[in-house]
Symmetry: C2
Subunit: 247 residues, 2 copies
């Protein structure tokens, strides 16, 4: 077995680990010059989170062009671009996720989004903002120059782990209140972040957990998938020991 992550694992990590993406939608209201009714491809910036299974979540204003587009045609894709900071971005990993982006009225998912994006809490309650979920159908991964794979839906989402999802808010509150030092160690010693102190946990899922400090984010991977609070606790303890150099 190779130590390198599989294409599907690389894609999942990009989708889970990045907090912004470019959304491609079909532009409403700009007809084709040759009078075709087909809409124009339209690229726009969005903040992104994921639902517990890994499907992307977006919080969109009804006033935005991309939202008008989705109301007319829910087909969309999202580019998660992990190439920032490279001299040649084409050597870096990015994934295009293809799916249907539909409104989803779910307070738990909205809470997951606003934990990931604390700044969004200021407008998440406005009447013209709605949460959308892009249900992943396929993804196209470019892991570097010439390292290209199509990935099927069943390899993109992780299996539902209702016990973990139900415990997520409590785990996060506990870690942020009682284990701030461990969060900083995860970010600095394992994720290699240079910004010290005051890291907060924003989400946890079967494959890992997410941290934020201001505009900086970090994702930590579990060694194996966890499905409940006890499994998560064991991995969080193991990673804290690893960070402290005890392993």
């Amino acid at each position: 077995m190779s130590d390198a992550p599989s294409p599907a694992a690389t894609a999942r990590r990009l989708i889970r680990g990045l907090d912004r993406a470019t959304l491609a939608t079909a532009l409403a209201g700009l007809p084709h010059p040759r009078e075709s009714p087909v809409a124009w491809p339209y690229a726009s910036l969005v903040l992104a989170a994921t639902d517990p299974e890994g499907h992307p979540l977006l919080l969109l204003s009804d006033l935005a062009e991309h939202t008008k587009n989705l109301k007319q045609d829910s087909r969309a894709s999202l580019l998660f671009d992990g190439t920032a900071g490279r001299d040649d971005p084409l050597t870096g990993p990015r994934v295009t996720v293809i799916g249907m982006a539909m409104p989803v009225a779910d307070e738990l998912l909205l809470a997951r989004f606003t934990r990931r994006h604390p700044g969004a809490a200021a407008y998440a309650g406005f009447g013209d903002f709605h949460l959308y979920r892009l249900t992943m159908m396929r993804a196209h991964l470019v892991a570097g120059f010439g390292r290209i794979d199509w990935i099927a839906a069943e390899d993109l989402a992780t299996p539902a782990a209702p016990a973990l999802a139900g415990a997520e808010a409590d785990i996060i509150a506990h870690m942020n209140q009682d284990h701030a030092e461990a969060l900083d160690l995860y970010a600095e010693r394992i994720a290699g972040q240079k910004n010290n102190g005051e890291w907060r946990m924003t989400g946890i899922d079967p494959e890992g957990f997410d941290l934020r400090r201001g505009g900086c984010i970090a994702r930590l991977d579990f060694r194996a998938s966890v499905y409940d609070a006890e499994g998560a606790r064991a991995e969080l303890v193991r990673l804290a020991k690893l960070a402290r150099g005890s392993l």
Copy 2:
């Protein structure tokens, strides 16, 4: 008159000043679930340069999905995202440029692209790589939270300046050979770059010029548009004096 740049000037500067973008095309070969022939919106990463008038240039492999898409339907858009480094990207500027992306066989434009992206010179001559120009039809600027404008084609491109375009290669060679110190001063003292030394000029156009150092880029604006080598020289001298603190 306000000192703030107009929406059109902000859009032009994003398009000229960023060297990568997200391309949205209509995905060939993935039919709509309801059997519509309409293609899916597809977002992908591209390196970008501009032609002398400011229309985006892309160097695309025939093997890439986005190129297959464009061969079937040349309608496209490009997101130029100037929000990197902000704690909340939604407060930052980005522009979606809408247009037709068509192959353009032009050695001078290809040279402009490879000056902007020296790494691309390694594959620019491959038979399966071709230069595309996205002829801008419209753009949608989001200059920050709620600062939103549609911009017409005539405000996006700059007027042709054939005397300047014809002198561009000579100006760049001269600056890189004889005025390396001035290039570093432009980058460090005017553009505020933190990487010192060895900046190279990669392009010059009526509104300003572009610099690169490894993976870092910087763009300097002229005070007023220039249309030939003499006008460019005067502005380059003025900016060098400004950078040296002589103005």
